[in-house]
Amino acid sequence: MRKALSQSSAALGWRQLSHGRTRMLIALMGVSVAVLLMLLVLSLKETVFRSSLQVASSLNGDLILLSPKTQTVQRPARFPRRFADRLRAIEGVEKVSVVYVETGRWINPWTRQQHNVRVYGLELDENVIGLDGIDPSDPVFRLADVALFDRRSRPKIGPVAAELDAGREFSTEVNSRRIQVTGAVTGGITVGIDGNLFTTHANFQRMFPTIHPGAADIGIVKLAPGADAEQVLAVANSMLGSEGVVYSRRGLLDKELAYLRKNEPVDFIMSLIASVAFVVGMIIVYQILYTDVINHLPQFATLKAMGFGDGFLLRIILSQGLILSLIGFWPGLLGARILARAAQKAISLPVEVTPDRIVQVMGMTVVMCAVAAGLAVHKLSSADPADVF
């Protein structure tokens, strides 16, 4: 038999909620703010993680050689370049090339301010960094004092990419040398660095004459087709002993993630803020639903006396929690999108509220409101129909 819509528990929940308009608005605001914070903070966290893993994930090799002193590939420790030669002796290894990495002093010619940029020295003709726009076989690359510029560098170091796109030549001072920027690649910067430059070993030496060319930062191993990566990895590590470490690509990413989790307070802080937002949102929703239950205790007891089961009353309150989460989510999403855009401008890192994040936070919001409703429902059991008389 079809029943009037007004009699479903969800409809009663909605009516009860919307009856106290101010209270509902406060609850919705609580949900929205919690959603906004969770979305923003988790998106920022992802941004930081992703950009921190940028270097590790763009390295174009089957195995990666690092110094055992290296904590993170973002700031590698040096190892003797001859290790690379030793690895070449292992069966299955096709090529080993090394990358030099150092922080250089870049002058923004528009503002005459100095900024830190990371300079990567790459081997000619070796495609060791898989970023859009790097072509080590480009003849321009063979010139002296040239470098490629990372489009994702922070704008404060100068509108270099715009100059290049407009077809103008651009050069500036890096480590007291005049360097011409001949092209732009799409990479990504990390916390503490304002930009990236990619150049050749020879140009790297010109910019950093005090760094001995025998001390390399990252070794990139390419395997012959059909070689067993696991086996080469084992042989390489036993060959290098305690002086060098070889990682698989997966192994390197794991190491980087572990480093970030352990050493970057940003992970902890972001997770903490998200948790606090979750708890605060839950408390607000709980508080609103709880007072609603308390204020309607005699009515709920009356419903029980009339023969409505506990399940029906429970669903009234739970549906209120769900309604709050489903309505409150959208203003929170909107706010997070706006603030993410502002944050992107402020930190010059791509802050995106991704669909993954939206689904995750929506799930968290539903859980948040359901738990709050579940706690508030607890009070319902004290609605004893025998007390209404």
């Binding site: 029943k3 009856h19 009515q299 007891a301 006396a305 409505f308």
Partner: protein, 235 residues
């Protein structure tokens, strides 16, 4: 349903009831016997603390029986479980001292809610019967008002309509006039009386308002947990 049910709405034998345990145990009902026939309007009167309300909650399946036998519509409530008590309550119309209407529903919606537990009544019929009952309660022009817009007497009449509209097999009312002034109290009881009579619904009404004793077929007096007097009404 056994044939018992038609013969007797209510049959109570030797019911004892006590609150608390051990030292704090306080007995409020002592071997209460009571019988109610179909269509009968019975008033249960007595001073406060005499056990009237406790007896009413036992009959309504709102409290667990402790001792004795209590049959409503032929069903024994001694040793009954929650589920059976819940199902029993759906056949009873309750009227409380306070109206306890849901403040966010209109008068009509509050009455309709009483049908929500009945599978045999569709939306249209539910609406028709709710409006009819409200009209019979003199609330024709207040049907779509929320409780906050109604006077005390009007709210109590809505509550009575809620109890009566689904045509329950028994109405249990506890001091329905307690929160009302003399005039609206009288009016509410008269309406209850008329409607129940016309539908043949038996009423057990707890009160110590002696202005309304005249509606009863029978008056039962309770004192200190004992039924002290069981007499045919004054009419």
């Amino acid at each position: 349903m056994s044939s018992d049910a038609t013969a007797s709405v209510l049959s109570i034998r030797g019911v004892d009831y006590a609150f608390g345990e051990g030292e704090l145990r306080k007995q409020v009902l002592y071997s209460v016997d009571l019988e109610m026939r179909p269509g009968e309007i019975v008033i249960l009167e007595g001073p406060s603390g005499s056990g009237k309300t406790t007896l009413l909650t036992l009959i309504g399946g709102l409290r667990r029986m402790q001792k004795g036998s209590l049959r409503v519509f032929g069903e024994e409530l001694m040793g009954s479980d929650n589920r059976r008590m819940l199902l029993l309550r759906r056949r009873i119309g309750f009227i409380f001292q306070l109206h306890n209407l849901l403040p966010f529903l209109t008068a009509r919606q509050n009455v309709e809610l009483a049908f929500a537990l009945r599978d045999d009544v569709g939306a249209a019929e539910m609406r028709r019967r709710s409006e009819e009952t409200l009209a019979a309660m003199g609330l024709t022009d207040r049907i779509e008002a929320i409780p906050a817009k109604l006077s005390g007497g009007q709210k109590q009449r809505v509550a009575i309509a809620r109890a009566l509209a689904p045509a329950p097999d028994l109405i249990l009312a506890d001091e329905p006039t307690a929160s009302l002034d003399k005039q609206s109290g009288r009016q509410v009881v008269d309406l209850l009386h008329q409607l129940a009579r016309s539908k043949g619904i038996p009423i057990l009404l707890v009160t110590h308002d002696n202005r309304i004793l005249d509606v009863a077929d029978r008056i039962i007096r309770m004192e200190d947990g004992h039924v002290t007097c069981d007499k045919v009404g004054l009419l």
